[in-house]
């Protein structure tokens, strides 16, 4: 069992880096900390960065999780190989570019690239964004996955993930006291479905709701409240088909007493306030 310490960053390829940078700064409200010709890094909290846009194919995406030591990474590589996953060890250049001590990457059953990183850089300088969206940090990542449950099994047996709740076959997986850090949505294809940033409170979430409307950003779901995590959410479209969410509140999980609950695959299981989405992942078209 490999222990995941925390979610670290999401790396996304884009064909239009200036537009992605503009979105991340002006709309999403992250802090641009490093910009080269083909890379832009963004800070959202105590982590050096939680979002990276890279010039390239939008299908080139990766989600990084931290493991504690090189020994744990070594065990993870071995375990993944034994289970038949294709694992690539990171080299020194790759580690420097990721601002981590060492790392390895593998592809899950659906085709999503996952990076396991050791000693990723934190920042002593606090996050100071251009737009006051009230972001407090990277909260979770939602991935599109195959519907066969293979990736749920990967995260809950090879790694220390626990299922907090299911909506249909979509699984919310936690690694700490937060309801989930990883959401797996059965889908026709692989890829990063949504990157979720926590904001201070309902006020910042709703302020962003009106801000995004004024900025003509397409809101695809919400504002709403998830009956699963009890988080308020607002989900909107970012560049290259990747969604972003602001989330607020939500219930922490008590490991001793929590039992995962099964919710029906219906819009009301994704939003208790009744907001509907056109996305099939959120049960578009199903009965309320």
């Amino acid at each position: 069992m490999i222990a995941i310490e925390q979610l670290r960053y999401v790396r996304l390829g884009t064909r239009d880096l200036p537009a992605a940078v503009d979105f991340a700064q002006r709309i999403l409200g992250l802090q641009l900390i490093d910009r080269t010709e083909d890379t832009a890094r963004f800070r959202s909290d105590f982590r050096d960065h939680t979002l990276v846009y890279v010039n390239g194919d939008p299908a080139e995406q990766a989600v990084a999780f931290e493991v504690r030591t090189p020994e744990v990474l070594e065990r993870a590589v071995t375990a993944l190989k034994q289970a038949g996953y294709r694992v690539t060890r990171g080299d020194a250049d790759g580690a420097a570019a990721r601002r981590v001590k060492t790392y390895a990457s593998f592809t899950d059953n659906s085709g999503n690239t996952i990076e396991l990183v050791v000693r990723p850089l934190n920042s002593g300088w606090r996050y100071f964004p251009a737009r006051d969206a009230g972001v407090t940090g990277l909260e979770a990542v939602a991935l599109r996955n195959r519907a066969d449950g293979a990736d749920e099994a990967l995260w809950t047996t090879l790694f220390n993930g626990r299922v907090s709740d299911w909506v249909g076959d979509a699984a919310y997986i936690r690694f700490d006291r937060a309801h989930h850090r990883l959401a797996l949505h059965p889908s026709q294809r692989a890829g990063v479905f949504a990157v979720e940033y926590a904001v201070e409170s309902v006020n910042q979430l709703m302020q962003s709701h009106y801000f995004l409307q004024a900025a003509q950003v397409r809101v695809v779901h919400g504002p709403g409240r998830r009956p699963t995590s009890n988080q308020m959410f607002l989900t909107f479209a970012g560049p290259d088909g990747v969604l972003y969410s602001y989330v607020a509140e939500g219930d922490a999980i008590d490991e001793t007493s929590h039992r995962p609950r099964q919710f029906p695959f219906r819009p009301l299981s994704f939003c208790a306030w009744g907001s509907e989405s056109e996305l099939p992942e959120f049960a578009a078209g199903a009965d309320r």
């Binding site: 709701h209 208790a272 907001s275």
Partner: protein
């Protein structure tokens, strides 16, 4: 000094009593407490009724406040008449129709019909809404004012209201610990501007936003949050153009001595700290 103790009810005339009843129950979520010929009474809290729709002119409206003692009615009548307001004592039949023991009717300086009532009926049966809107009770009214400064003087010197905050020249007035029971809206004509019901939580405000939007109820403001009272709100339009509000989390002013009213700008930011833009005539300059 006329000591207003509580808001009691609102009476609204309508040409379509069935339509108004449908809205009040199926959309707003009130409970019918009684149907009589030409009128329907609605319940929203422990009172016997807090809203009455009756067959008549939609311009025929009244807002009622409770006073403590029977003799307060006579004293209020004398004081109002001395100030030049025409005061009418209700007949026993009219008092029955309002479910009160006695009342007087007059118009405030803008011309809004106000009733002062003695011993309004409470009910032993608790409110159970037609739909689960989470309503906890009728809470305040918005009143149009043709001269905000003049009307503020009337409500705060002739009556016992205190200014909790001002948006432009329009005061929000309290008569007890609730941030406001009367919200004044500058307007060219008198009338009840909106009717507020409190709901249990912000979740109820948002659920109703979805519920009512799906049913094509015109949203006129929100969902939002008032910087003045800190309440989360939603304004929408009901029959005869009347605006109804749900809100949750209105602040309570416990310390009369320490509290100081604040001045907010008469612009969208003064009405909503989330950035909602009002579609209400009185909110526009």
């Amino acid at each position: 000094m006329i000591e207003l103790k509580d808001v009691s009810y609102v009476r609204l005339g309508t040409r379509d009593l069935e339509g108004a009843t449908h809205f009040a129950t199926d959309y707003l979520g009130l409970e019918i407490s009684e149907r009589v010929k030409g009128a329907v009474y609605f319940k929203s809290d422990q009172k016997e009724h807090t809203l009455c729709y009756f067959e008549g002119d939609p311009k025929d409206q009244a807002a009622a406040f409770e006073i403590d003692r029977r003799e307060d009615l006579d004293a209020a009548a004398a004081q109002l008449e001395a100030l030049g307001h025409a005061v009418r004592f209700g007949t026993p039949e009219e008092a029955d129709a309002r479910k009160v023991r006695a009342f007087i009717a007059f118009k405030d300086p803008s011309g809004n019909p106000i009733e002062l009532v003695w011993r309004p009926a409470f009910s032993g049966r608790r409110y159970h809404g037609t739909r689960d809107a989470g309503i906890t009770g009728f809470s305040h009214i918005g009143l149009c004012t043709t001269d905000a400064a003049r009307d503020e003087t009337f409500w705060t010197t002739v009556c016992n209201a205190r200014v909790s905050d001002r948006i432009g020249d329009a005061p929000l007035l309290r008569i007890d610990e609730v941030h406001h029971s009367i919200a004044m809206f500058p307007s060219k004509t008198p009338g009840i501007q909106h009717i507020n019901h409190q709901v249990e939580s912000g979740d109820d405000v948002m659920r109703s936003f979805r519920f009512l939007s799906e049913r094509q109820v015109p949203m006129v403001f929100g969902p939002g949050r008032h910087p003045t009272s800190s309440a989360k709100f939603l304004y929408f339009e009901g029959p005869d153009g009347m605006v109804f509000e749900y809100s949750s989390g209105v602040r309570s002013i416990a310390d009369e001595l320490l509290y100081r009213e604040r001045q907010l700008p008469f612009e969208p930011k003064g009405f909503c700290e989330w950035g909602a833009k009002p579609e209400i005539a009185e909110f526009r300059k």
